[in-house]
Symmetry: C2
Amino acid sequence: MSKKNGYAIGVDLGGTNIAAGIVNSSGKVILREKLPTMAHLGGKAVLGRIAQAISCLMQKTDPKIRKEIKGIGIGTPGLVDHKRGIVREPPNLPGMDGMNIKKYMETRFKLKTYLANDANAYAVGEHTFGAGKGTKNMVCITLGTGLGGGIIIDGKLYVGSFETAGELGHVIIRKEGIPCLCGSIGCVEPYVGANFIAERARKDIKNGKRSSIVKLVNGDLSKITPIIIEKAARQKDKYAKALWNEIGSEIGTALISIVNTLSPEMVVIGGGVSKAGDILFNPIKEKFNKIGFKFLRKRVKIVPGKLSDDAGVLGSSSLVWNHI
Amino acid sequence: MSKKNGYAIGVDLGGTNIAAGIVNSSGKVILREKLPTMAHLGGKAVLGRIAQAISCLMQKTDPKIRKEIKGIGIGTPGLVDHKRGIVREPPNLPGMDGMNIKKYMETRFKLKTYLANDANAYAVGEHTFGAGKGTKNMVCITLGTGLGGGIIIDGKLYVGSFETAGELGHVIIRKEGIPCLCGSIGCVEPYVGANFIAERARKDIKNGKRSSIVKLVNGDLSKITPIIIEKAARQKDKYAKALWNEIGSEIGTALISIVNTLSPEMVVIGGGVSKAGDILFNPIKEKFNKIGFKFLRKRVKIVPGKLSDDAGVLGSSSLVWNHI
């Protein structure tokens, strides 16, 4: 497509690091830059550091490529005012609350800048370059510390009337469940977040569950992570397998509500925790195939994300193409 | 709007009756027709009866108006293939399964015909003529025997990739809940359907709950309906009030999942059970205001539907305008 010729800058703003890159229109990162966010220095300083990352990329790249950069895409934690390009209440980056990132970058670099919530940016990335390429209606969830979401409708990011659509971690699976940080009760997020999974294993083991996890962390339970539990499950550890089955079943339950609402052709699942692979995907699909609408079971594809380590940068850069 | 000049025929196909009408572009029904569906005669006979209803309207109306009829909209139970105009697995109308209603009517009347699921048609009706007029993104639920849903995105009916979007009765509120007819577990529908509400009251009373409901039905518990329970609640019957509070809280829980997914500016609630009014709406809003996202509590409007007795015909007729 001619409209997609050229390059885009993608910036993945995180609580710890700022990852940036120049990405071509096929989704190849041709130049990378990474620097610590230094959130403790405050919002203005972080703005400056984002600009610095972009500046470095601009200076390092071939002037011919520099001329072909069509815009800047930035993925950020928190709520986003997309039109104005303002970020609101980003967890881990309290100093950035209310900052107009778009305006700052547009003034500084004379390049159209697009801001989105990081999970939304990831969804656009998977739709533009990854597993969801070519789909019309798609749902994307990211499994990490929390459960993020992004919705593509008619090929475009859907943010809804208040720009908060796709808060899929806050789909409720148990009305009488555990409290969620969002103030609600029984959201899926607290049942499947990375820390919850690890903490859950710690508690169970302390309460007498036998598992090879203990050996894998040399007895230091504080070292338990989803990756360790995955390792144990792959070694046929019964407890670890059962735990992943449960996590998958929780996610599958939320997916059924989401799919019954949106009827998407595909659900893409990415993020750190999703790297557990079939150990996680099998129980998700099992749940879906057991209690999802029969008509939808064979039709809706549930697939792992394809963007790997560069997911943040790729997703953010794809915001530029989503708007062109 | 000039494009909305003229009239549309709306047909509300039900298991018991076919209600049809000629509706002007402001949502006024200028002529009505009603006849029994006679589902037992089979699908072809029902097709003929729908045509008969339309025929009667055509013959009875002023020839000047007849010339200005822009199309036919039909709301039906079941899944719908919108493009082709085929209905699939309509409960109560098994003989209609697979029938191409659109083709039949277009051949017969030389008028563009649009088919939609009845809950979807109602959503379009509320958006075109009712409470949701002028909204961009809106969710509509109908409370009756079941809980139906319809989603308006960017001013148009959204049906998703498999034309099943808006199956909001099958948003799960309790992972370990009661079975649903759809094959899933813990869907909101079985907790709030009219029959469930009545059956619940019957059981509770049989188990010793004291309530003025008993007096209202002269001791014949089989006569309990949501309307009776509403009456009791309005008479300050403690049990009836508590039951409505619970129903409202179940619906509110599902709404939070839906709103967190879609970020609509409005949720319209209609259907027979919704006529309970504030007795139902107050606990729905209470739940929403207690555990919904703080940012959304004041923004998302939860309102009763405005289409009254003609809702089915109005909603179906509005499908014509939704497509023009």
